[in-house]
């Protein structure tokens, strides 16, 4: 068993530098690597290019990096929940590249599995297709999209073992699996870290080969963006 466990969040983030490209798992505030984001704020690294489906909210998630102006460029599919984001984008302080959500996921997955480019219908005929190759397959038009490249991927899993094997929970899975191994260094924080052999090999969502470093997160706020409930009868 190849041990991926690191002893501290500082060790987990060793090598992080200004100007790097980083992937962040999560959808909205669900399944985001809270501990890693907080540590990046503490470290104060800047000029980051962040690849993440969303940009958090003003005071949580990637919004914390935005507040501190640590992000130079954001690659995302939906950023509507963040006023500071919109301000920095419209004033041009921050560069923004909007990518269709399925294309975002597949560009991560392609980096993970060594596929440099693939064709997708998403965005054909829109401004997203500008400058991209268009090709017709079986009567339908597709555009060519390339794999992402990133220095670090920050992942949140539910359970993990020392070998780096991961299990996600519910819809907190989202972008996390496709980003594992899509960057040079994949750092995973988990709610529960167990010895190798504790997880059923048949029920691993992501094998440890895609993970370089794993640690147990300290606390999880798990903020809910839209608490929507039924009143009890």
């Amino acid at each position: 068993m190849i041990n991926k466990r690191v002893n501290s969040i500082q060790e987990a983030l060793e090598g992080v530098q200004d100007g790097m490209t980083m992937m962040f798992g999560g959808f909205g505030l669900c399944g985001i690597p809270e501990n890693c984001i907080n540590e990046l704020v503490t470290m104060g690294v800047k000029d980051l290019c962040c690849i993440s489906n969303n940009a958090g909210v003003d005071d949580f998630g990637l919004g914390l990096l935005l507040q501190k102006r640590q992000i130079r460029k954001m690659i995302a599919s939906y950023v509507g929940e963040n006023a500071e984001f919109e301000r920095q984008m419209l004033t041009g302080e921050m560069e923004v590249e909007l990518v269709p959500q399925g294309t975002l996921a597949e560009r991560c997955r392609s980096a993970q599995v060594g596929i440099p480019a693939f064709f997708t219908p998403a965005g054909y005929g829109t401004e997203i297709a500008q400058g991209k190759e268009v090709r017709n397959f079986n009567g339908k038009n597709y555009i060519l999209e390339e794999a992402f490249k990133a220095d670090f991927a920050f992942i949140k899993a539910w359970k993990g073992d020392h070998a780096g094997n991961l299990i996600f929970k519910g819809t907190a899975r989202n972008f996390n699996p496709a980003m594992c191994g899509a960057a040079t260094i994949t750092v995973v924080e988990v709610e529960e870290l167990v010895p190798a052999g504790s997880l059923d090999p048949n029920q691993i969502h992501i094998p440890g080969i895609f993970v370089q470093r794993i640690f147990q997160g300290k606390t999880y706020e798990k903020r809910i963006e839209q608490r929507t409930v039924r009143k009890r009868p």
Binding site: F27, L90, G170
Partner: protein
Amino acid sequence: MALSKEQIAQRIAKEVKDGYYVNLGIGIPTLVANYVRDDIAVEFQSENGVLGMGPFPWEGEEDPDLINAGKQTITTLAGASFFDSSLSFGMIRGQHVDLTILGAMEVAQNGDIANWKIPEKMVKGMGGAMDLVSSAENIIVAMMHTNRAGESKLLESCSLPLTGVGCVKKIVTNLAVIEITDKGFLVLERAPGISVKEIEAATAGTLIIPNEVPEMTFS
């Protein structure tokens, strides 16, 4: 009288057939789930990674790890499954989802749709909308017939940046049910008490009006 948002959802629910996997967008589409007949089998997919969505949770039973694409807390039904974003959009791109219902800012009479950006004013991003509209065989747009300024959202061609081209098949608004055809917007049904003239007055694109335009029914 023009339909309420709930009534638009209720009318669209009639388009949901037995055995359909359905993706519901944010806003009016989300309400459709409340009106689907309970004697047919339907599963709701949410692109953040769940199939078999149920109703909102009871108060106090919210799980932060269990949300829909609108970031709302949800529940799941028997037979549900969770999966990652890559496989989720695989379902969508691979045309395994039978029906997509989403909102729009503009729809053109050739089926183009715009719903993600107002240049220099509003840039929230397209989320999964571009994947959905470029992939789905069966797309219904749920929207008000006119915008807040009273201008038609059914146009000869879209003025806003497009989300997808030639993809919308049907539109249900507060005034009418409309099908996209080669020759323009075909009026299939009108809201109860709404005249064809009122629909004409509220529409900027080419309308095709059959001799008989029946009133909508809701069940």
